[in-house]
Amino acid sequence: MKRSILTALVASLALSGAAAGQMKNTVLPRTADGHPDLTGTYDLAMLTPLERPNGMPAVMSDQDAARLERQVVEQNRALDKAIDGNRAAPPKGGDGSVGPAGNVGGYNNFWLDRGSQYSIVDGQRRTSIVIDPQDGRVPALTPDARQRQAARLAQFRPTSDQTESNDPGLEPAGAYDDPERRPLGERCLLGFGSTSGPPVLPNYFYNNMHQIVQTPDSVMILTEMVHDARVVRMNAKHLPPSIRRWMGDSIGSWEGDTLVVDTTNFTDKTRFRGSTPEMHVVERITRVDAKTLKYRFTIEDPATWTKPWTGEYTWPATNERIYEYACHEGNYAMGNILRGARLREKTQTNQK
């Protein structure tokens, strides 16, 4: 672990310049016990992806960032424009939309809130969350992890990180056999795309709000979607290995003005990009100024990745409110999906 933290530090120093000097002049809000006050609501929606796209530098110029951000605004404007009120029904056989739109076109853009700006860390507009390895890419999976992945695909058991097939049509047979085979997000159990984490990541879709509530004994990180509250026990010891939690067991301590959250004891029901229950995540949360937190994480799981890796991005505070994401309230989709599958089976049986 020490090595990975050191590598992260080196990577961070290489990326940041005079960041440390800037922070010293800032008066940070503090709690009664003298620690930085991390309390607040944060909107994690942003354009910076987890992994750096090929050919991009680690840091963008202000001009390049402005141009890309403008493109997103223009794209949203175009999608918001009126269409023909006398239009016909969409084409039979599907509209060709891929990914989440599933060949049926998903729904209108006005529901979405994908983010419109790149993350600014230490004054730099970043092109990836990943900072170590320095190419901004998640390290390769180990042969063992690839084998596990293949075995999982053969069983068609998608979990938290595997929200759905990219195939515009249906997932392979078996994926709809029972509710337990559906992704955790679809089942309203955890958010999709590691929204609740750890590591906490934006989903590039909507509802990227998080709230931190802090006491001397515990720090709670509330994720709007899907209503996940992770309670970090301060200065505590990890639970015995026999006790496993969906979001792991998080314990916290202060290293100077940085909250360090150490998480282990994951289950085999959640899985971050193919990780095992032995994944170890260290998060470091630092208040940069009155409106910004810096969030850094280092992940270690030797059975999954060839080396530990680190990412960081900022959590900008927002005045917006978190709303209850009462997912079970109206999850008609789950019933529609399973019912559709049963009817397909019936039709196929009758045809035999």
Binding site: G102, W111, P168, R182, M225
Partner: protein, 159 residues
């Protein structure tokens, strides 16, 4: 050359942002059952994970009396939208869209064809303007371009 790299990077970047969704649209709706629905909204379920609009579509062999078209039969359809939370933050509430508002919706029917349910691939007013965005006073996000727009969150909705 620098410009070329920059342009290439822009295109790569735009394509690289991953997009995931709450659930499998492809599993829920049937690409072979496209629908075009024209009717008036009779109910709005402003719930998570997805809002559902109920509309009545006039139909000669409809199963229920229309609420908004006298002496006619209607068929009720449920249309799936996105999470209401995002819209709430922009000041759009359940009250921003009034019952009786005429809508045009295209999408695909649920794979269970006995259900009158579809995804709201496009939800517009009859003139093609997108819902929440196309009309002054809906409480839609304002850019200051329209001085007649109602204050955020105070819209009356509809036409």
């Amino acid at each position: 050359m620098r410009n070329l790299i920059a342009i290439g990077a822009v295109l790569t970047m735009a394509a690289a942002v991953p997009v995931v969704a709450h659930h499998a649209f492809g599993g829920e709706f049937d690409p072979n059952k496209p629908v075009l629905l024209k009717g008036k909204m009779i109910k709005l379920e402003w719930v998570n994970p997805h809002a559902w609009l109920h509309i009545e579509v006039p139909k000669s062999d409809g199963t229920q009396a229309c609420q908004f078209t006298p002496n006619s039969k209607c068929e009720e359809w449920m249309v799936e939208g996105g999470t209401p939370n995002t819209l709430l933050r922009r000041g759009i509430t359940k009250e921003s869209l009034t019952v009786g508002t005429e809508l045009v919706i295209d999408g695909y029917q649920a794979r269970d064809h006995s259900l009158n349910r579809a995804n709201g691939r496009n939800i517009t007013y009859p003139d093609g303007r997108k819902l929440f965005l196309g009309s002054s006073g809906t409480g839609a996000p304002t850019d200051g371009a329209d001085p007649t727009e109602a204050p955020k969150g105070r819209g009356r909705g509809g036409q």
